[in-house]
């Protein structure tokens, strides 16, 4: 080649010239700007509009924010400080209200000496959900558990938990981390136990109360296992045994055990719940209880038994058809009419029940979507193996359907968590409105509107945003698994 080359075209250059720099407009910042911001007349207009919006927001918000005051004991003092520092007529945020009352936004009227309890319950929650959520990515699981453990412990120390409690907590955190790592099934057991632990931590009282309620499940399960060969009868017997235990034995046994081996925390009234403790308690309780209820409803709705299906459809469509706020009013105004005369329980429990029913209907639809998305072959294969209905659901259908539904479930949870703010309309102290109104009702903080909104809004955003990111991450991962 080269010989021919040399003979035919003598003047050809045989060395490469050094590359010239591209023209100004084709490289670096200018190129990026041209490509991404000013690629055409429409884009240019959009960019300019966007810049105008940003400028508008910054120019209106920044002065207010930069003039914020963190140290003051009342709104008037705040205004005075702002006027002194930045001249008459300057406006500024008075975040002193957050500094003074942060505990009420977070813990409501929870006794300050017990602040560590909701904190610990919140931290332990991550360990309870860890085995369910991060089964595959080890690094992520470690990160989450380490961060949760360290933060939980640190906050409990800061909030003045007694040393004995700290010791138990530290041991529990280390133990749970190990459990999650080396004994996966054990970690699942902790997930099942966690609701009872959380109830005890939040409401206090004797630890034997929740333990005996838990024992009811064990009793029911045991009766069912023993009689398993009687099919339907075993199920009924199990339910009856558990109900009998709760009605007649549980209270007495708890009392006796408490007498023998007292394990108790100071009792905290539901009325003391407020702020984010209230929101998270309602939200988590709603989701934890609505998940199994939702699964049952979804299965019922896909059942081939017309009566069962009709009831499920009626329930789901009714709940989804009315606003949550009316259901909350039902909880506060009507529920007492529906129960036997004289029954009277806590408004928070009533609200949790209503929120649970509400979430269960939405959950049922999400899970139904997951069930419908499974290829028919899976059902047929289960049948072909000779599995009965429950075995087929438990071993083949539900594990896959739930996995597909996780993003939807997380989405429902985000919605539910945001909706917990509506409890303000039945007189509970939610962080967004009622708590802020209460604080504003005092003479010192009259007129503090924006600061509480920004504070609670930011917390809601952080919690919901991280959940939605998690669900997106999960969606990505599940996609890889299935395609």
């Amino acid at each position: 080649m080269s010989e021919l080359h040399a003979q035919t075209v003598a003047y050809v250059r045989d060395t490469m010239l050094p590359q010239a720099a591209p023209p100004m407009r084709q490289s670096g910042v200018v190129l990026w700007l041209r490509q991404n911001l000013f690629s055409g007349p429409l884009n240019t207009i959009l960019t300019l509009l966007g810049l105008a919006v940003v400028w508008f927001l910054v120019s209106h918000f920044w002065p207010w924010f930069s003039h914020s005051v963190w140290n003051a004991s009342s709104m008037a003092e705040c205004r005075q400080i702002i006027a002194e520092r930045w001249g008459e007529g300057a406006t500024g945020g008075c975040f002193a209200v957050i500094r003074e009352r942060w505990n009420q936004f977070l813990f409501g009227f929870f006794p300050p000496s017990e602040y560590w309890r909701p904190t610990a319950a919140f931290g332990l929650m991550f360990f309870a959900i860890a085995p369910v959520l991060f089964t595959e990515s080890r690094g992520l699981r470690w990160t989450v558990m380490a961060v949760a453990a360290v933060l939980t412990f640190a906050f409990c120390v800061l909030l003045g938990a007694p040393p004995r409690v700290l010791a138990v907590l530290a041991a529990a955190l280390v133990g749970l981390t190990a459990l999650n790592e080396y004994a996966h099934r054990g970690a699942l057991v902790f997930s099942l136990l966690f609701p009872f632990l959380a109830v005890w931590l939040l409401w206090g009282g004797s630890a034997w109360g929740p333990a005996c309620v838990l024992a009811g499940f064990v009793v029911g399960f045991a009766v069912w296992r023993v009689l398993a060969r009687f099919g339907l009868f075993a199920v009924a017997a199990g339910v009856l045994a558990a109900a009998g235990w709760w009605m007649f034995a549980s209270g007495t046994v708890a009392g006796v055990l408490q007498g023998v081996l007292p394990v108790a925390l100071p009792q905290v009234e539901s009325r003391a719940f407020g702020g984010f403790v209230l929101a998270i308690t309602i939200g988590v309780a709603g989701i934890v209880m609505s998940l199994p209820l939702g699964i049952i409803l979804a299965l019922a709705r896909r059942s081939d038994m017309p009566v069962v299906k009709a009831f499920a459809v009626m329930f789901i469509e009714f709940i989804r058809g009315v606003p949550l706020i009316t259901l909350l009013f039902v909880a506060s105004l009507l529920l007492n009419y529906f129960l036997p005369p004289g029954t009277n329980f806590d408004i928070i429990l009533r609200v949790i029940i209503m929120v649970t029913l509400f979430a269960a209907a939405y959950m049922a639809e999400v899970i139904r979507g997951g069930l419908a998305a499974l290829p028919v072959g899976q059902y047929e294969a289960a049948d072909a193996l000779g599995l009965d209905y429950w075995k087929a659901q438990r071993l083949i259908i539900l594990p896959q359907a739930l996995k597909i539904s996780i993003p939807g479930i997380v989405g429902t949870f985000i919605g539910l968590f945001k909706d917990t703010t509506l409890v303000t309309f039945v007189g509970l102290f939610d962080p967004l409105k009622q708590m802020a109104d209460t604080i504003r009702a005092t003479f010192a903080w009259k007129g503090a509107y924006w600061e509480p909104y920004i504070f609670t809004g930011a917390i809601f955003f952080i919690l919901c945003f991280s959940m939605s990111r998690y669900s997106m991450y999960l969606e990505q991962r599940l996609k890889r698994d299935h395609r």
Binding site: N43, L232, E317, L422, T456
Partner: protein, 420 residues
């Protein structure tokens, strides 16, 4: 599995109700039915007993009584002398109004933002992402409260529009002196007619004559428009040449409207300050404006995500293939991409509309008199009929939801791609 001949069926034994698969389902259903009915009966009997114990009755007669309270925002004539039933009707119409407008604006916002989020413009797509994430991850109640606070704290009071002693007012109207946002309401120009021949009475309904005339004219224009289009299509199919029709369409809509406007003397009245308040124009209550804004922005963020997902779900090959067939940009969008994207978009969009309608009950936070505020609020409170009011209100919301989802499902079925 072989079927046993009819004569050889094993004799029926009671244990088969539990053991035999065919009969077990009957047992379970009967059991469930009995349990549910027992539960319902238990609830009802408790309710009856409780009502009797409190000496209360259960009847809807109170709906016919004089309500005695005023409603700040009403689409139909209403005064404190009207009945509770009418108050509930006012509330229902207000709910429908804010929901319908909310759905409309939320869809517009959602489509715009969803498309802009996919735009190649770095700044704009980032801004839209921020908007979507911020609105989706914060409770709607917060947005309502914040927007309400913006309106009450940051907007001028009506009296600020009045010139002070030195002849200058501290606030001025916007948009060519036609719109006056205040901290009570937003005053916008209203349409007025000079020659109103009076209402047309159709049985129990009475409609304003000009409104009726305009509706009839629009409907007629639309029908003729369809006919013209069908003719043009037929001509195109036959000859391959589509006759120019845009000017016919334009004339069809514009000519009657202009003629009718002249006939009735239709004109815009801009608001002006009289006494305490603006008069002349239409004063849109801030509760309404705030609720509408908050609902539209909040739901718009969700719809944007739905639209984005819908557009991304249509594979690129579809539009490339359409281009290869020689279609231009608009037909590609209208005939290839959109129908497929809509199939993905519509079902979640329906549930967003339903959510918006239900969320409109948050009007409670801004004092907008929707159904919950009239029937489920003041009426309930003044009459003490919580059972009747709540049940009626839930029934109305339920009916509303079922109607919306029914209508949208029919539409959904019509746009769905026919699959084998």
């Amino acid at each position: 599995m072989t079927d046993l001949p009819a004569g050889q069926d094993p004799p029926f034994r009671l244990s088969m109700l539990v053991r035999d698969r065919r009969y077990r389902s009957l047992t379970i259903q009967a059991g469930v039915f009995i349990l549910v009915m027992l539960f319902a009966a238990w609830l009802v009997s408790n309710t009856v007993e409780n009502l009797a114990r409190m000496g209360k009755t259960f009847d809807f007669g109170f709906l016919g009584n004089r309500s005695g309270y005023d409603i700040p925002f009403s689409l139909i004539p209403y005064s404190s002398d009207s009945t509770h039933l009418r108050a509930a009707g006012v509330g229902l119409l207000n709910t429908l109004l804010v929901s319908a407008l909310g759905c409309l604006f939320a869809t517009i916002i959602g489509v715009l933002v969803g498309v802009l989020r996919l735009s190649s413009n770095w700044l704009v797509s980032r801004l839209m992402t921020v908007y979507v994430e911020v609105f989706r991850n914060v409770p709607l109640l917060l947005w309502i409260l914040v927007i309400m606070a913006v309106f009450t704290e940051a907007m001028p009071a009506p009296r600020d529009y009045r010139p002070a002693a030195d002849g200058t007012a501290s606030a001025s109207m916007i948009l060519f002196d036609s719109v006056a946002p205040t901290n009570r309401y937003t005053s916008v120009p209203a349409l007025r007619v000079d020659h109103d021949p009076g209402p047309v009475v159709l049985g129990p309904l009475s409609l304003s004559a000009p409104l009726l005339a305009f509706l009839v004219a629009l409907a007629a224009a639309w029908l003729i428009h369809r006919w013209v289009r069908a003719r043009a299509q037929a001509r195109q199919d036959a000859t391959g040449i589509r006759p120019v029709t845009w000017w016919i369409t334009l004339a069809l809509y514009l000519v009657p409207l202009i003629a009718l406007s002249r006939l009735f003397g239709l004109h815009l009245v801009t608001p002006e300050l009289r006494g305490f308040n603006f008069a002349g124009g239409m004063n849109l209550d801030n509760g309404f404006v705030v609720l509408l804004l908050a609902l539209s922005l909040y739901t718009g963020a969700f719809i944007a995500e739905i639209v984005r997902a819908g557009i991304m779900a249509v594979s690129r090959g579809q539009s490339e293939a359409a281009a290869a067939l020689g279609l231009r940009a608009r037909p590609i969008m209208a005939l290839v991409v959109l129908p497929q994207a809509l199939r993905v978009i519509i079902p979640p969009l329906i549930s967003q509309f339903l959510n918006l309608t239900k969320n409109s009950s948050l009007a409670i936070a801004v004092g907008y008199p929707d159904l919950r505020a009239t029937l489920g609020g003041t009426t309930l409170n003044q009459t003490g009929r919580e059972m009747e009011s709540m049940l009626l209100m839930m029934a109305i919301y339920l009916a509303l939801s079922l109607v919306i989802s029914g209508v949208m499902n029919v539409y959904n079925a019509s746009v769905r791609l026919k699959e084998r």
